[in-house]
Structures are given as C-alpha cells and as structure tokens.
Symmetry: D2
Subunit: 384 residues, 4 copies
C-alpha cells in the first residue's frame, strides 16, 4: 500500500483544472510508490475555491496562501498563479520544505527567475525538489523524439526550428492579465516561446549560446476592456528570433497569438545529417521521422503513431495502440514522474527543474534584448 | 447538490478501465443533475476485482454478478463482459429495474440481440433505460458531422464509406476469446463493423435496407495458444460488404484486423450533392469537410479542428481550442449524456439504445448471410 | 541517328492532345532507337483537324480513317476515339500491319474486346504490337510500387482496395457521348474502374478470380441536352464491387463520378503481411509505404517523393529530385516504352497489351452481371 | 497566322532543357499573337551544343555568344548561364535591342545586379523588355494566392514565412560552380532565398524594408573534387533572416541545402487578419487556404486543388480538373506571358522584371551584411 503524497494546489483556473485532473488520475493509470492525495486547494475567492474543491475532490479549500507553506501535512505545492506571483509562492514553499511544481514560464522577469533558481538550489541540498510544468516533454511523441536524438539517430544536427502559433489574440480579444506587461512579463514570448525553447533544448540535449537576431511586435495596442471601453495591450503579440546552439546547429524560434489558422500549433523540426524529426502538438500522437539511412527509393517522412506500449514512453499506462491520448495525459505523466523522483526513483524522461527553466528564461530575455538593441546577443559567457 | 446515481460495473478489462475512468471523471467536467457514484465492481476473480476497486475508487468489489440486479442501492449496471454474456447480464439487470449501459456489439448472435431488444422495450415502458456504448458518436468531430448532415448541408447523399481497419491480428497474435466464434460470435465483423455501421447510420440519419454483396475471410486459421502449441482461430479476420440505404445512397463497409499500417483507423466518408465529410478516429480531433457550395476557386477539403467551445459538441467541458481530446473523452461524454437522459433531460446527440443496436446487428447478420450464400440480402421487410 | 517511327493519331479531343504532346516530347526526354514522327492526324471534321495538325506539328491531316491502315508510310496507329469505335479502328489497323496504341477501356462491350484481343494475337504472330494506354502504370510511384511487390516486400497480400473517384457528373453536367450507353458501353465503370482494375492487377501481379458482389447505380437519370431541354443519361454514375484474387487476397473496387470533393482521385491501397502501399493520383509524385519489418517504435506510413533519378522509374529522363512530374509524363513515358519494345528492346515496366486489357474487361463485365443478378460471379473458369 | 518570335538560348544545362521545353510547348498549349521559333542555341562546347540543338529542335547551334546580340533575326535572348555571366550576356543583349529572359538570381553581386537593372531601364525606354525567370509566380496555386491577397481576402497581414529547403548539399556532394563563391556569389542564399523573397513580395504585393537579423552558416567547408581529392566549399549552406515589411508585417526567411528530408520544399505561409495561405512546391497543385470569416464550426485549412479551368490561372491551357501539372508548366506559362507582353498584351500575373529582381537582390545582400555585422540592416532609405 503506497504512502500518501499530500498535494496543495494554488490556483483554480484552466491550469488548476488540468493539474487537478492529473493528481486525481495519476495513481489510477500508474503504479507508483506514493499515492497522490488532493489535500488542499487555494484560490483568491474562498467560495469559488470551495466549489472547486468539492467538484474535483480536494480535501480542503482556503484563500490564505501563506497557510500552505506552514502546513506540516503538505508535501508538495503546485503553483498555477500568474507569472508575477510565481516567485513569492515558490520561494515560500521551498523555504517551508515543500516540493514545488510550478507552471511555466518560471517567472515574469529574469530577476525573479534567478531568485527562484537560487532558492531551488538551496532547497535541493536539503532533498527538496522544484519542478516546472513543461508538459510537452511528456507527450509520448516528444519523449520518443528525445530518445532518437540521444541514440544518435539524427547524427550531426544542422537545423532546429521551433514555432508556437496560436490565433486567439486578434483585435477583438478583450484585455486580461495576459495582455498586461506588469502581470505577465511578456505576451506570446513568455507564454509560448518558453515552451518551444524548452522543447528544443530537451529534444536536442543542446544549449542555445547566441541569439543572432530577433523581432518583437505589438500589432494590437488597444483592446476592449471587460468592464467597457478599451485599454492598452502592453505585451508582444509575436516574437521571432534566430539562434545558434553549442553544437553549431542553427535555430529559429517564433511565438505568435496572431497566426490565423493555428489554434495551438506547437511545432518542432530538427534536421540532422542522418535523419530529421518533426512534431506538431495539434497532432500530438504523431511524430514525423525521416530516416536518411534508408535506401534512397524508400526514404521519406514517416508518420509514427506514437501509441505502441513498451516502445513509446508512457502509453502503456493508458490505452491500446492507435487510441489517441489527449492534452491532459502530459500532465498525468508528469505527475507520475515527479512522484517517482520524489520517492527516490527515476523519471522516464528528464523533468525540467528550476535550473533548466532559468536557462530558458535567459534565452527569452536575450531575445527581447536583441529585438530592442537590433543586434546579436551572446549567451556564451559563464552562466550567471 | 446533485443526487447520487449508483453505478455497478461488470468487467475489469480494457473496457472496465475506460468506463471506470468515465464514471470517475464525468461530474468533474460536466455540470449534471445526478452525481455518478462508483458503487460496486464485479469481476470473475475476487482478489483481482478488489485490487481494481481500490485502484479506481469503486466502493465495493464482488465476484457474484447476480447480486447486482438484486441490490436495491444500485441504479445502473454497466456491462463490459464478452459478447456471449451480454444477454444474460443485461436482461437480468433490466428485469431488476436497473438502467443498463452495455458494451457493443449488442450480442454475439442475432437471437440474443433480439431478446435484449425486447427486454429493453418492456423495461422502457417502466422508465428503465438501456444504452449501448457506441462511443464514437460522442467524438466531437462525429457529433458535429451528424449535425451538418441533419442541417442538410450535404444535400442528397450519394456515397457512404465506412472502414474500421486494424492490424493487430497477424499470424503471431495468440488465441483469446476474441478469436473463438463461440464466445465472440464473429471477429473483426462484430467488433469493428458494429462501430462503423452504427456510425454511418448515426451520422447520416439513414438506414441500411440491403446488403448487396459481402465477402468474409479467415486468413489465419491457426494461432499460438497462450498455454503452448497452437489452436484454431474460428472467427473472420475481415468482412467487407456493399449496401444500399433507404435514401438511395450506396454504402461500402469493411472491417479488418489484418490491414497492415492501420493501428486503429475507424473511418467514415460521406459524399453528398452539396458537400462531403470524412473522418478517421486516428485523428479524432479533426473533421474533413468539403463544401460544394463555395466558389469554385476556393473549394477544397477543409480540416476542421473540432475543439471550439460552444460550437463543437462536448468540448467546452474540457480544454481550450486546439488542445486535443483523447479516446477516453468519448466515454466521459457518453456517461454525461446517459445521466442527462436518466434524469429527464436530453442528450447532446442521440444515444444508441437497444433498438438501434439491434438494427445494427441485423445488418451485420445479413452481411454474413450474404457472404455465405453469395447473393444479395434484403433488409427491407417489416423489421422482425 | 535513329530511324523514324511514323505515327498516325485518330482523334483530336482531350486524349488527342495528351497523345500529341507525348509523341512531340518523347525523343526530347528519352534516348531511343526510333524517332517518333508525327505523320498524320485524323479527325471527323477536316478543318478542325487541319488546325489541330498545324498547332501540334502533325505532318498531315485527314478525315478519312480508312486511309491510315492503307498508308504504307505509317508504322503505328494511335486510337483515341469513343469506345464503340475502338474495335473497327484497331482491327483495321492491325490487319494493315500497323502497330496499335489504343485508349482504354479496350472496348465498349466484351464481344468487341474479345474480337480485338483475337486480332491482336493474330497480328502479334507477325510481329505487330497492340497496346492499351493504361497510362497510370508509368506514373513513377506506381511503377516503383509494382517493383516493391515483385521483390516480395509486402509478403502475403491480404487487401487490395481500388477507387477512382471523380465529381464532375452532378445533375447539372450536360449530356455527351460519355452518358450514352450505346456509345460508351458504361459510365464511371468502363471509364474509371478500367483504370483501377488494371492498376491493381499490374501492381500486385495478381488476377481477379471472382466478383463476390457488386452495386451499380444511376443517380442521375436526366441531364441537360447541349441542344436545349433534357435527355436520358443511360450509363452508371458509380459501380462498386468486391472481389477475390487468385492469391487469396480480397479486393474492393469503386468508380464514381459523384464523389463530391474528388476531382480525380485514382487510389490504390494494398495491405500485405510485411508491408502496405497506398497511392492517390492527385498526389502522383508520392507513394505511401508502410514497412512492417521496421522496429515497432519507428514504424509508420512513409511518404516517398518518387523523384529520385536511378531509383524511381522514368524520372531521370525529366527533372531533378523534388521537381514534380505532371499528368502528361505518364503518356510520354508510355510512348518511350512502346518505342523500346517495337524496336526490339524492353519496356521499363510491362506495357498493357490487348490480352491484359481483355482480362480487365472480363472483370468489368462480371461486375455488371453481379450487380444485375444480385449474386457472385466466378471468373475462375478457363479463360474464354 | 501568328508572326514569329525568334528566340536564342544561352546554356544547355538543366535550365537549358527546361527553357527549351517551354519554347517548344508554349504555342501548343496557348493561343498567342507570336509564334516562338527556336532559332539558335549557344553553348560552350560546340559539338555538345549541336547535339542539344538537334534533340530539342533548335534551328542553329553556336559556341560564340557574341553572335547572338548581333544577329538581326533574333528577337529574344534567354540567359541560363552561371550567375557571374548574367551581367555580360544580358547587358550585351539589351544593347543589341534584344528582349532578355534571364535566369534568377539576377546576378552574383549587387553591383552586377544594379548595372543590369540600369541597362534594362535604358532599354525599356526603347521598347525592349527584360525579364527574370522567377518561375514559381506562374504556378497556378501561387498566381491564385496572389489574387486572393490582392482582393483583400487576408485583410491586414501579420506574418510572412518563406522557406526553401533542400537536402542535396551534404558532405558527400562533390564540388561544382554552385559551391564556388567566385562563380555563384552565394550558396543556398542566392539560389533559394532569391526564389522565396520574390515569391513573398509577389504574393503579398509588399516590400521588405528591414532585415532585423540574419544567420549565415557554412556547415561543410571541404568537399570531394570531381577530379579527385577535396577542395574548399566557399558558399553558405544555409541563410536565415528576419524581416519587416512596409505594411508592418513581420517576415522570416530561410534557405538551406542541408534540410534533410526536403528534396525541394519551397514554402510560403502568410497569416492575415481575415485569412491565411500556405503553399509548398512539393505539392505544387495545392494551395492551403484558411478563411477566417467562415462560421467558427466549419473553419479550417482548406486544401484547394488548383486545377479548375477559368478560375485557377493558366490551367485551362493544359488538362482537365484534378490532372496534375508539373514543374515545367511554370516555364511554359511564363513563356506565354512574356510573349503576350512583348506583343503588346498583358501577362496573366505580373512578370518579374530587372527592377523587381534588383530589389530582391538588395534584400539578399542586406541579409548577408546583417549576418556579418550581427545587427539589423535597414532597406528603407531611398532606393539606390
């Protein structure tokens, strides 16, 4: 009989639901040494939070976030608040000896991110873990792609292309914290490029050493206010940048909320000497693979349905071959891997910790500097 | 605060897991007048069943199926046993006044299916409901396609093509109840053509009146026995048939377990005078739509990502646009619709009852007769 | 310096243009022992035919078809007339010692087809050749697929699916000889199923031994007359049938002119124990290939761009890798192969002769009998 | 009866063949006021050139390029030589009063390009035309896309993404003039980015005003020499850059010869407020179109098969709907449009003249400067 892992969740929005579902489901699908217990949920409005707790099966509801780090029963604090609050919540949790699972991007500013990384390093020395929900790593197609690169099946890497394209940010979309630079730090950049930079570095096992050029654009400067009238939209709508990797590969990255026709295209393509990979989260069960070592006549892009138990990571926990997984399974699988590591075991593929997320944040920051200074920015100095 | 709906589940295999997940999740995602309670699970091995109950949160475990129909607390019995047991379990449940949710195909034989249909008719007069888990109806793309046809957007229907192609049934696949005609009734035919016939009739709102020709084939006649050696494989590996619909449309149907390259391709294409539709469950979040009324220059097959809240059925209960649903959501959505109907409300799209499933079984039976007699078989007599 | 091969063409319609282009281009792209000379073109209207001759570079124009077989200078007669005229033109040409290249289907009736086959057998003994323009055999993707099957890369064949779907035959399409049973013999069936049956037999190297069921439908019974008013449309709009091959594989075939959304989808899919193939002429430069012998994780449908010189047949004669061929290249390549055989060499892949085309015609005939008699029709008797 | 347009061709390589085919075919498919006559072909080796002339039907062969500009019979000189010779050949031809059709890129250096542009301006005043073979403009899908943007169907443009990815430039590919900076000017950049920049500006009707960042890479520095041993490869293997358009749209461009898996992917995607377009020359008969004004439920990427006569430009000259065009038709259609303009009529869509090609060359030059200086480069000064 597994021991409990008491979890507290901060935030009851879209991510609060996705994480609740993950904690509810993780021990149903996976055999694990710890049993996730949905101990407490914390939200800004107590009544709403109580309703959320009842619906999702959280044992307790509170609106007092400071209780959590002080509560001896709680083992892990899951942070899904707006980016500007990540630092306060995560640092307090770590100081209280709680493991932390924080939504991405790590923070709204590089200063916050650095402080969080440092807190996590300190905590880690005491056995406390700090993770970031870079959920796409645990999409079976992505985790499998990571393995193909690690095995050397792509050979020398030439090109890495990451795009995260959405189209919900048109001029009619009303203001929210996501369009407020003070709350969100940035727009599409922190929200979406955070994912693709993490994804690209995870799959390649490589590191970005230079942003060679970047463009940041605010197409929409005024938006409808929920309360009537309009107000300023102060974040980027899209950011693109070019990069070099330590291995010599060249990269291009782009995030947009104005890419009409792309509801949620998180795409990565990698071209290597021996093979190429391509992935789009809109077809998340598929990986495109080009094996350059096959005879010329039969060479081509191969659509791998990544649902084979025992071969494609995580899928044996769920359904038979050809039965699609959805968005939420990435969160369930990450919950499983965090539980494995916390209990002394190994994740199926590497979890993103605060060091990883800080490196991603440095790249994002360099891209904004490059866009403003209109020149290349090196990241190849000793990491701060 | 919703009243409880006490559910009992028979069977702890693949479908037992999928249904458990549905009952666990349904009230998290949907606002419903009844709260599904996972009351009892019943399996053939008591110890295994207890472990299953603990894992999935069923309140009680039993190996005595007859208890269920007699248990006053239980409101609904969910049947996921092999096809030859459906009749006994479902008829007993209905006789005990329990609602029934039965896996497809309705039964292993047409006689069993007719008896079940008759029992359901009797029970219905007393307010008891009997449903079949034709889960693909509640895939958002399918439910939306149904609406497009119902609105007349395809005009007169010409062609209906249904295929359910799998490839796990090669010569190395060992024997199981699924390859035993006595247990399963048929092979690919009952397992897979049941789905495509239901899907085709549901989406078109039409009825098959003739099987004009059919072919049934057993490619693999001997398989490895799990216990060593080999034994006879007595079911079809594939069945194809041609059909006419009441509307005059012509149909072709095919089920195979030897369609190399198709893990789970459940496909439907419909061509009408004003438009065409195409669907493949391997890309279950997408519907292909051809609008023949658009200007010639801009006409083409349109890939609709069926994830728009408020427009594509069911999706508003889950995640934002572009975030893929998986296989299991169809079951969660069917659980929601059954709860709605049982509590006096309406399903989002029509649930398959035992009358529907019996009609499907008649078509499957006619196909086998056609294959054996090498001639067309009419279904256009007054239904038996 | 190659000797001339003097060619006469009968017909100046769509096929007359495609063949003219082939004869004009063949010696530009291919190194061949004979030089095709565009000697004479014959059409029903002399003035139109003269204009056609001038445009395309035919040396002479005539409206008197009987001249051709009698003209000592002419080596080969190319027949592109309506189906009911094929017999008269081809038999006269062969009797006159001319090689024949006849458009498909071989004839409008099985009797005509048999007479043509017999005439070709007689002529062949004297060294005269008779070919049918089953052009799709020489699409590089198809010719390559043929080679993959011949090498045994698909292993035992289970399924063969052929479809030729078009959508130009809606109720607004006016009458022409193609809708007149007396001229055309049949509708979609002879026009389109002729192609897919030839394609399926060519690629598999197999033979159809039974039509196990068929459906023929005339959805549109009245059409606008070009001269005003309406008139009867007396041919099928679609014909589907199921079949068995000598190898035991099962087949399904379908031709339609009412498949909304399909301008010209000539599709073939073959599933074998070791691999599968799929082709659609709408993407004629691509072959879909599933290699079932690859490791499970990397197995999938591979899109082969069939433009690699020296590997994919014919392409080295044209453009570099990745540069698409079009519809007409199949005709140019067939002209090249006919010239090779006529001059004593070998075609790159087998040309369809009148024996092949007669066998295809027998299958088409059996499908119509099956549809009318509502029962299976065997083709496994000694061929008539 | 049309008057002749006497054409002389310089160069007998890959482009020499493609252009010969165009001049041979243009009056077969198109009704035009001038009849292209294949008057003279000029190559460096006289014997080879004579064989080429005989094969393709050129009236005369020469190895003396200076004859052409002096030959009173010749009306148009078609230049397909290496980039460093374009200037000499084109300027001499224009000075001799000949129309010029020059392969792209306009030249190997910006100085050459400027001199050619100036010569063309002077010649134009005397009624002499100078065109560049930016063949992709006349792909029906591209020409149609241009029309959709011009009609305003995309609304305000946000994103323009151009990529030309090939994969033939791996380390085993031997040296040729294309890898020699002195002959070619650049590598993938001039060869491929020239196409995508022209394509992007043509389809959008917009102009690039800034290169905001660029990366140029030489992955392969040594290659096998055809004569044995190895030698230096002195051109870029890939160049990527970010750009701004006058309209405010942001652009990204990339050319590579090391994009494993891409034989010839010339891709353009444009996202606008009202719609999006996407094109890949590997599927050159298709245009992807997303209409953002369609009802939310039926909105999606639409694959338009651009083969509808009377709607999609150029196709009515060739084959029926659904019958694929190939690479060479773009050249035939450009030959038709040049003949139309030269004879006083209008091209179906705008031909690229030397002004257009010079503007493209300026962008390419700015990208290389940006890559070397590691900073943004403005093009928004009064054009030189």
């Amino acid at each position: 009989m597994p021991r409990p892992l008491n979890v507290a969740l901060i935030g009851t929005g879209f991510m609060g639901r996705a994480h609740s579902n993950a904690w509810m489901s993780v021990n149903k699908f996976f055999d694990l040494p710890l049993d996730a217990v949905m101990h407490t949920v914390c939200g800004s409005d107590l009544e709403d939070t109580r309703a959320f707790a009842e619906r999702w099966g959280w044992g307790r509801a509170t609106a007092t976030v400071s209780e959590l780090a002080a509560d001896d029963e709680i083992d892990l604090i899951d942070v899904t608040t707006p980016n500007d609050l990540h630092r306060a919540h995560a640092v307090a949790a770590l100081a209280g000896g709680k493991h932390v699972a924080c939504e991405k991007p790590l923070a709204g500013t590089l200063d916050d991110a650095r402080a969080m990384r440092d807190a996590a390093r300190t905590a880690r020395a005491r056995g406390t873990r700090a993770y970031v929900w870079f959920n796409y790593r645990r999409c079976p197609a992505v985790a499998y792609a990571h393995g193909l690169v690690a095995e050397g099946r792509l050979g020398r890497l030439y090109h890495v292309r990451g795009q995260y394209l959405q189209d919900w940010g048109g001029p009619a979309t009303p203001l929210s914290w996501r369009f407020d630079a003070a709350r969100a730090g940035s727009g599409a950049h922190g929200d979406l490029n955070a994912h693709v930079v993490d994804l690209a570095c995870f799959v390649t096992g490589d590191e970005i050493t230079e942003v060679t050029g970047a463009v940041e654009t605010r197409f929409i400067r005024e938006r409808p206010s929920p309360g009537g009238g309009t107000g300023p939209s102060t974040v980027d709508d899209c950011v693109g940048f070019l990069a070099r990797f330590r291995s010599g590969a060249v990269g291009s990255f782009e995030a947009s909320r104005l890419a009409t026709g792309h509801a949620n295209s998180n795409r990565l393509e990698i071209n290597g000497e021996l093979g190429s990979l391509s992935f789009d989260v809109e077809r998340m069960n598929e990986l495109e693979w080009f094996d350059n070592t096959v005879d010329a006549g039969r060479r081509g892009w191969t659509t791998i349905m990544c649902t084979t138990a025992g071969v494609h990571p995580y899928v044996e926990a769920y359904w038979p071959p050809g039965h699609a997984l959805g968005y939420e399974h990435q969160f369930i699988s990450q919950a499983a891997d965090m539980i494995r590591e916390i209990s002394g075991g190994s994740a199926v593929v590497a979890l993103a910790d605060f060091d990883d997320a800080y490196r991603t944040q440095r790249v994002l920051d360099a891209a904004l500097i490059s866009a403003r200074q209109r020149q290349a920015v090196s990241l190849d100095d000793p990491e701060q």
